[in-house]
């Protein structure tokens, strides 16, 4: 499903543009169809960079990222929107449009992909029910709790029925109880056949899920276990 080969990415230091900081150093990863993968590691380890490469926000300096056998590192700019409609993405800060209602936020993802209005009318209520917000369609994001907002974001990410859901610290802003609700929702999405990539700091979540754990540190994969626990090398 996803095949990351020899990916290297560096940034120039803002104080000294000539000096490069290596964010990812020759990463190799393979993620199979229908897998649930935890991406863990301390801040600045390279998790976010990897996520940005996966959603084609940035391109690697070297290497290739094959998603469904297509190298997204070489996508043309005009093809980016079509790739993004095939993946679902959830962020720590939700990234909902504040001036749109819950319904409009979700419908928007369909509108931009030129879906028929009847299709939108049909799919939005179903996905809202799936994330447990069937009665919140007309609310604005500011009227919802953090957990509810993240559900809206997940609903929006899933509205295209993507085969891959990428969640970047989705529980980072949530309290423990809400965290478990979101994790449960992600598991449910996974059980329905979607490949889920979860980047997280949350040790408890990772340990409870008992799924594959990839540990990234200093831009390298330092551990990759089928049924892993949250281990930061040096701490174990």
């Amino acid at each position: 499903m996803i095949d990351i080969r020899n990916v290297t990415k560096s940034y120039s230091r803002s104080s000294n543009p000539k000096q490069r900081i290596l964010a990812l150093d020759d990463i190799n990863l393979e993620i199979g169809k229908g897998e649930f993968v935890n991406l863990v590691g301390p801040s600045g380890a390279g998790k976010s960079t990897l996520i940005r490469l996966l959603i084609a926000e940035e391109r690697p300096d070297e290497g290739s990222i094959l998603v469904s056998k297509r190298d997204i590192a070489r996508l043309r700019t005009k093809d980016l929107p079509y790739y993004r409609r095939k993946i679902g993405v959830v962020f720590q800060d939700f990234k909902l449009l504040p001036v749109k209602t819950v319904w409009e936020n979700i419908a928007f993802a369909l509108e931009v992909s030129d879906a028929a209005s009847s299709d939108i009318q049909d799919r939005v209520p179903k996905i809202l029910t799936m994330v447990g917000l069937g009665d919140k369609g007309q609310n604005y994001p500011s009227e919802l709790s953090g957990g509810e907002r993240q559900r809206v974001a997940i609903a929006r990410a899933m509205i295209h029925s993507p085969r891959i859901l990428i969640a970047d610290e989705p529980t980072g802003n949530l309290d423990p109880t809400t965290t478990w609700e979101i994790v449960e929702l992600l598991e449910r999405i996974h059980r329905s056949g979607t490949t889920v990539i979860l980047a997280t700091h949350d040790k408890a979540v990772v340990d409870k899920l008992r799924k594959r754990v990839i540990v990234i540190e200093h831009g390298r994969v330092v551990s990759d276990e089928k049924i892993g626990r949250y281990i930061v090398p040096g701490e174990a």
Partner: protein, 306 residues
């Protein structure tokens, strides 16, 4: 973009126009003021042109000759005057012709009967039409020369002189002021619309990012901004059209000397405006949309990185 997609970007643009209504209002006002200024000077220019033309066509100098002057002398003068570059035409009015003209005038039969072909006191004359109104005076002065003193009974042109001169002066001033004010207004509206769009784009950076992340194509991000700008143009044009009407109807021209030098033309301007209402509004809308979308697309190209 599909028709459905186009419908959606129009709706998005309209919603954004309303949700940013204060910024929109500022842009609408600037476009409106620009179009208003252009409109005033355009209409004024056309009306001055028409009036000048109309008066110019009627404009002539009549040189009346004493009855004892030999006809040969008059036709010689006619020939020499006709060759001057500042003269459009010279017509010789004989006594018979003068009689015909007199009889054709709307006056009472009693007055008409005072003059008969046999007893005709009407003088012969040369009717000189100048090439341009400015030439009028110098042509008239020709006949003040000594050699004409014994020949010429009277030279008449004074009647229209003041009107002509003020028209000539007005049209020159109006053209000059018109260009300057129009240029200033267009530049101002460019700057303001550019900045308005920039402010909107910056304030919606998050929104644009989210649009991209959920798979918006470039045009789906950009078009709503153009729609929004078009609305500035449309509303600005409608506002300017209304303001123009009020301006002309209530003769506000006399209160704003910078805008209108020839304020005595206001009634003509109003009737021109009313007669050409639809075409004027259509042109205003087209111009407004053009001005607003041009600047907006500059700002969008500059600030929306996709």
């Amino acid at each position: 973009m599909s028709t459905r997609g186009f419908g959606r970007v129009i709706r998005l643009g309209a919603i954004n126009f309303w949700r940013n209504r204060w910024l929109s209002l500022a842009s609408v006002l600037v476009v409106g003021i620009t179009l208003f200024i252009i409109g005033v000077f355009f209409i004024q220019g056309v009306v001055i042109q028409n009036t000048t033309q109309a008066i110019q066509d009627k404009l002539d100098i009549s040189v009346y000759f004493n009855d004892d002057v030999d006809e040969q002398v008059i036709t010689d003068i006619q020939r020499s005057i006709a060759n001057r570059p500042d003269v459009k035409s010279v017509e010789y009015i004989t006594k018979e012709k003068a009689f015909e003209i007199f009889q054709s005038r709307p006056s009472s039969e009693k007055i008409k009967s005072l003059i008969t072909p046999e007893d005709n006191p009407l003088p012969r004359s040369l009717v000189i039409r100048p090439s341009s109104p400015q030439d009028l005076e110098q042509l008239a002065k020709l006949f003040e020369a000594d050699r004409y003193e014994a020949l010429v009974r009277r030279v008449s042109y004074q009647d229209n002189k003041n009107v002509i001169e003020s028209l000539v002066e007005a049209s020159t001033t109006v053209k000059k002021n018109g260009w300057i004010l129009t240029a200033v207004a267009i530049i101002l509206s460019f700057i303001l619309i550019y900045n308005t769009t920039r402010i909107i784009i910056v304030s919606r950076a998050d929104e644009i990012e989210i649009m991209r992340l959920v798979g918006s194509t470039e045009s789906f991000v950009r078009w709503p901004f153009l729609i929004e700008a078009s609305l500035y143009g449309v509303f600005g044009a409608l506002g300017a059209s209304g303001a123009l009407y009020v301006f002309l109807q209530y003769d506000l021209a006399s209160a704003t000397p910078l805008l209108s030098i020839a304020n005595f033309l206001a009634p003509d301007m109003l009737s021109f405006y009313v007669d050409h209402l639809i075409i004027i509004i259509a042109v205003m809308i087209a111009a407004g949309v053009l001005i607003a979308t041009t600047m907006s697309s500059f700002a969008v190209r500059r600030f929306v990185k996709l």
